[in-house]
Symmetry: D2
Subunit: 314 residues, 4 copies
């Protein structure tokens, strides 16, 4: 049973109504000064399908800082540039620790567990800088995202980037520690300058849903990476995309997803759709609180899950 | 594109031929004396589909000790008995540690990370013993497995159970430690006696594939648990089923799976099939070496993955 | 300046008066049921000097459970029996973890950090059982303590031992874990039966001070171990005798010491005296709260410290 | 029995002869480029006593980089400036981890275990910078050391400091991490610039022995800190002065000591003497290999130990 566009739109609207009525919205990230002042009352959900119009509900035209969701695009870029060489520098296992943890880096000798925790994303960014200047690397990233979203109006917010450069002490600690293990090829300043700009990409929920289409696959989807790479990136999003809350997201939502402290979550329904949800308040894992709840409701209402037979029944 | 039975059979045969020719077979688990003497040259793969004949290749009629694969059935039983109450005692996150680790139990105050590491499976077993004797609990488990496999000729190997009772010191350490945190309701002897018998279930690869059908779902599959629970168990298998190698399995195979130190792996293709593979030699995570390689090849040859659009194209 | 007996007696009395007036007495250990009912209002201090009468103040004739203070005597016995062979099984470094922690045992492969944390003391006890029955080993221990104290009226409290056997789950976890690493030669039941009886030795504060004289050294002290061994045991008491509070005790008191959850502390002033203090309430390290404060006051009032020149000025 | 000057000189000479004949000299620290080229064949020992001539043997007039031995002087300075306020920012417990570890900083929320591991020394340096410029703080440190040694010819090696600034990535990681927890008041560049200059102090073994006299105490010793502070600094040297080898040093040598990766060790015999030993090759803890062995021999030959009654017998 394929869900009709009308039914899907009704689902998005109902989810938005419920989210807007929620009284427990989580806490906006305040460690990045530029993000601390975002209005926590905002909520949006957007659904993109290959070859069909994108559906939205809520504040879907408000640009927000995608933050760590950008790690998905940077990973795609890194794999395109380096292929499996990337895995000599970063692992593919869930870390079971907070997004900015450096606890495991010592016993594991400077090799981050996966590309979606901060340490691993810094290594990925550093790898993309191989033979490229920060300007070139960030240009490649923006071009990739714009091509994925089929939308040239996507930019980086320089004030957010500068805000993080000024206050991202833990990321500097990670970069210097990686360097001490020989797992950083550039200076911390150079790599983190690039990393913070990558995190400062701003998109509307609608743009983000569209940008996720390259991970949906199928004949009408944008062909930016191979089918095998789609599967692998989705696998990493499933096991590592929500830090130490990844298991819970898989259990409750059942779709690959990547969150960011800006309150955005990008989830993929392989072969069917890309979903972006945004609400700035975070739960204790640092993932969007209402966004996670909305995705759980979305999965339940659509019956879409990679772990069940529901699609076979469509 | 649906794969024909003939094509699937050809895939299983080719995988078996390649596995049999492999010269690097891993190391048979030697910490359970009764398992140490298994012939490492054995290999089998079996594929069960709802409403269709089960396909096999290799030593698919040889019973082997399913060991930790039994944790999937025990979890299903525990969720049936306790529902979400189970999660007050055990988490749903990958642990990033070895299967028998107790490292994280101290900082996390005796609450195991998930039901598939030993500590978590001991808690799950202990929970199933609520209001039941070991005999009753093990009887329920066997009935569940036999019903799932539609096969009454499935038994526990008493010698294997006794061998583990005599040598499973680390599991005793885990049980006593859980008890010290109040997360064991029965004595370590009672709970572990049950736990070791559960691990001592023997099945042929063909039986195991059949027993996995209840997690495939769809209208022709056995209805032992709800569609929601199917999705949730598969989610846990995906994020936690291979211990600290779960991320790698998701990346390489892309299907929910649960391994056991007996060399068995059960993987689910939601809506389509249940696959059992068996080869006694283990890799350094304690998962079947050739079994993992075979499943990676299987996923590639069939194009089956929960993370890609291939099913939509069938 | 040697302190006169009268001056020392006055110091003990003043310390006792202050302790008795204290309103913050810590919390009696409640995880051993037999110890949970001890009256926390009790306090005593006793000072033994080679060749001179022992001085006491407070409840110095009340027998109490010396618990982990017994590890000092067991270590002396183990070194006498095994010499440096003991160090192949246990280390000599402070652990920085709680007395009953098993956190470090996993990364350090079953070799406890030192003989004064529970894990290390279990190994030490196990080592003393080499070629001896528990009865013989415990007989040797009692003989050693009685000889040290020059007092035959020192016994084990069977009810305390049984209470710990029934409830010491964490110690059972430690013993089974040690066994899983091959660092236990006997069954957990046998070694822990011995270990718990050793912890159940009861002494009065006066007896304990006397029993410590063998670590004071000098020509009038009991010669139970060599001068080199005295120094080494005192070194271990200094760096490891108060678990993760050892550094603080060294800083505040400046004397080697060993605490027990029964509320006793034995401290050594090398060449001069042995001091026992007892008060059942514990601080958050599991060391006697008033006992630690009393020893800090004692060190200040006597000027005795291994870290200062005060003795040179006597 | 007081050891005569002639006997002490004979001991120093014998120890030097044995050290020079040793074939296993450890490995010179190579992570600081300026130190990597030091000749490992060098060895010296120097003994300073209050009011008596300093005795030396070996290369006792060769200046070397005292590195972490400087932490003793900086701690004295910090305690003089801040008193017990310092302890709100750094602990007093052995860490059980390597000198440059950041493992424990995460669970312990940015409060280093003690002032002698790198993280703790960085905090101590940062504290001394309160209300002072780096130039002033380093001036105070040099004045303190020169006064202690009664020798104005003690300097910092600017090339060593610059070498560490250029390569001390792990220390930068520590500083940024401390900053992220609010436990750094200055920028990492400012604090580490000061820290690295402090480590770059050069002294001859003879000067270092003299500089240690302020920790010996007694009426003829320099009065730079109070008797209580002497005891406390010595206590910290005993429990934390050799990182995760502190317990072993206490056991084998029995004297408070502080090592540096330049191969120097300063040990104190309270009330009697200050001993400096230097040999560039390090053991696996990062402490001077021959230096540690020499101190063990020295303690044995002199009978000097804080843990034994030997001084009472002098």
């Amino acid at each position: 049973m394929t869900l009709s566009t009308a039914r899907l739109q009704a689902i998005l609207t109902e989810i938005t109504d419920i989210a807007r009525a929620s009284e427990s919205r989580g806490k906006v990230a305040d460690y990045i000064p530029e993000l601390a002042c975002i209005d926590p009352a905002q909520f949006a959900i957007a659904l993109a399908r290959p070859g069909k119009p994108t559906l939205v509900a809520g504040d879907a035209s408000v640009p927000f800082s995608i933050q760590s969701v950008s790690k998905v695009f940077m990973l795609a870029l890194a794999l395109g540039k380096l292929g499996d060489r990337l895995w000599s520098r970063v692992g593919r296992e869930p870390s079971g620790q907070a997004f900015d943890s450096l606890f495991l880096l010592e016993p594991e000798r400077g090799r981050p567990r996966n590309p979606f925790i901060n340490a691993g994303a810094i290594v990925t960014t550093d790898a993309v800088l191989e033979g490229s200047s920060p300007r070139e690397a960030l240009g490649s990233l923006l071009r990739f995202i714009r091509a994925a979203a089929n939308d040239d109006d996507i930019h980086m917010n320089e004030r957010v980037a500068q805000s993080e450069i000024a206050t991202g002490h833990r990321n500097f600690a990670l970069a210097h520690y990686l360097l001490s293990h020989g797992n950083l090829a550039n200076t911390p300043d150079l790599t983190l300058g690039t990393y913070f700009h990558q995190c400062a990409v701003e998109m509307t929920p609608m743009q983000l849903a569209n940008a996720g289409l390259f991970l949906v696959g199928g004949k009408d989807a944008p062909r930016l990476v191979s089918a095998q790479r789609i599967r692998r990136i989705n696998a990493l999003m499933m096991t590592c995309g929500h830090y130490d809350g990844s298991g819970d997201y898989a259990y409750r939502v059942g779709l690959p997803g990547k969150s960011g402290v800006g309150g955005g979550i990008l989830s993929i329904v392989p072969g069917i759709a890309s979903v972006a949800v945004w609400s700035p308040g975070l739960n204790h894992y640092g993932n969007s609180k209402l966004g996670t709840e909305a995705m759980e409701r979305f999965a339940k209402m659509t019956g879409w899950s990679v772990f069940g037979p529901t699609r076979a029944a469509r």
